[in-house]
Amino acid sequence: APYSGTGSGTGAVSGTVIGSGSSALLPLAQNAAKAFKAKNPNVSVTLNAGGSGTGLKQVADGSVDIGNSDVAAAAKLSSDRASVLVDHKVCVVSMATIVNKDVGDKVKNLTKEQLIDIFTAKTKNWKEVGGPDEPIVLMTRPKTSGTRALFAKYALGGKEEASNAALETDNSGILLKSIEENKGAVGYVALSYLVGNNKDRVSTISIDGTAPTLENTYNGKYPVWGYEHMYTKGEAKGAVKAYLNYIVSSEYSGKMEELGYGVTSKIQSSVTNSRNAEENKSSK
């Protein structure tokens, strides 16, 4: 990466930061970049989506400074390529099950089993789970999506979604719009898509009585969450380092929560440990 900055901390850095990857992380990264740049006008930050796979590959190739990913590098890269990458768990995201308002008025909570039955297309009508007499419309993300991977793992207990019965949506934005507009629709998005006006467009569903909120994530009650990773090839330096530091700084954490992302450091350590252990296990 073109790099012309020196030093660390705030104020004095200059240079370029280029990132790519996860589309779920992009809004945060962009928001942070904007704030970061306000302080460091000599830094140029450019960020792109492309998907976690792309981000990881590019950072491993060295074509970008930061590779954003919803999943751990080991899931998408061969182990020797993954091993040179340094992980920065910049935040956590929780995935909320969302339904169209007409369902949401009647169905506020589902058990994990119900959820699994719905997403594997065993349950086909909302009335089976106490909702209106409407067929269930599944809306999912592509198989390569990090959001989908997390949701499948922690909400559906690793069960495969019924792709052939679901409508797949490339992007969370469009998925949200689809759920909003289609009766009986159910799907999932990161909480970050449910801030501001978006909150009222759809209804969220509690799982086993736990509502998908940041608090429930921090305290470990709500299991459907994951880290968002920003990988660098080797240790971060200069502007990149400053940028990464800025994201995880307390200065920015308020803003982060406003955007619907969870601050990594706020997660209770027990929760962190068990999740880390799980991830290490699954990546091996």
Partner: protein, 300 residues
């Protein structure tokens, strides 16, 4: 007399059919015209209804930078594809002998022109980004778009050359001009109006292109308008910086953005894009008419 009556009956039948079909044609044409009108109106109204002046600004909140990127990218793409396209077109029309090679070039050009732009985008990503070990940048985007424009310009040029009467060339050669002189001094100037049209159509294609840019031009832009150091990544004129275009931005704000006014911005950008297309189409027509008049001498 029976014959005559028969003829009259047949004539009555065919006239009825004629009137009916004329009605059908009017209806269909009217329908599509209305559809287009509604389409354009919808986009424009949607776009400008909630627009704020700030949206035009050259900041993160406006689409000024994207607009600039769009124009700049298309400009770069044309800079690359116009000369190549014209030269290749000249080859096809003037030098290619009627043989397998020529046939092959022709098929290649046509294949290129009917290639899905997403495929071009992927190719561009691999070759212009990965193989050059660079990052998303405008120039890579321009190269990808120029791949899209290239066949268009090539075929327009070749067609324009072929459409010229054979007599022009014969006339020139018979005056002792070489083939190359004939091309540069006579045929090419005579083709300018038609090539122009092709170029403008190609530009229109560049404006609207998103799929080919997803993986090449990048989806963010960061311009410092006070920085004119060409090597700097924030310099507007540095082609080797990422540059989100309007179409890409529409795509991005429709899909991923969590900004609260993302939809309005997207609508606004769409409207701007449509205006651009309209403008260019108009420009092409005016230019063409002007050149045509000049060439045919109908201008008084």
């Amino acid at each position: 007399m029976k014959n005559k009556e028969q003829a009259q009956a047949a004539s009555r039948r065919s006239r009825t059919a004629d009137r009916f079909m004329t009605g059908v044609f009017y209806a269909v044409a009217g329908f599509f015209l209305l559809l287009l009108l509604a389409f354009v109106a919808y986009i424009l109204i949607n776009g400008f209804r909630d627009a704020t002046p700030q949206m035009l600004s050259f900041t993160e909140d406006g689409v000024g930078n994207q607009l600039f990127n769009t124009l700049y990218l298309v400009f770069l793409a044309l800079l690359i594809s116009v000369p190549i396209g014209i030269l290749a077109g000249i080859y096809l029309a003037e030098y290619a002998k009627d043989g397998p090679l020529t046939h092959f070039v022709r098929i290649c050009v046509e294949a290129l022109s009917s290639l899905p732009s997403i495929v071009i985008g992927l190719f561009g990503y691999l070759v212009f980004i990965l193989m050059t070990h660079s990052q998303w940048n405008l120039f890579a985007g321009a190269l990808a778009v120029s791949l899209l424009c290239l066949p268009l310009i090539t075929t327009t040029t070749a067609d324009a050359f072929r459409a010229l009467p054979q007599e022009y060339k014969e006339g020139s050669l018979a005056l002792g001009a070489t083939h190359w002189q004939s091309i540069t001094k006579m045929l090419l100037p005579a083709c300018v109006p038609r090539i122009m049209t092709g170029v403008i159509l190609a530009a229109g294609r560049g404006f609207g292109e998103a799929a080919a840019l997803l993986y090449t031009a990048g989806m963010s832009t960061d311009i410092n308008w006070s920085n004119w150091n060409l090597a700097s990544p924030t310099c507007a004129l540095n082609p080797f910086r990422p540059g989100e275009t309007l179409a890409l931005q529409v795509w991005a704000s429709r899909t991923e953005s969590i900004a609260s006014n993302a939809t309005q911005i997207a609508n606004f950008s769409s409207a701007i894009l449509i205006l651009l297309v309209l403008l260019f189409s108009l420009l092409a027509r005016l230019l063409n008419r002007h050149l045509d008049r000049k060439a045919t001498g109908t201008e008084s």
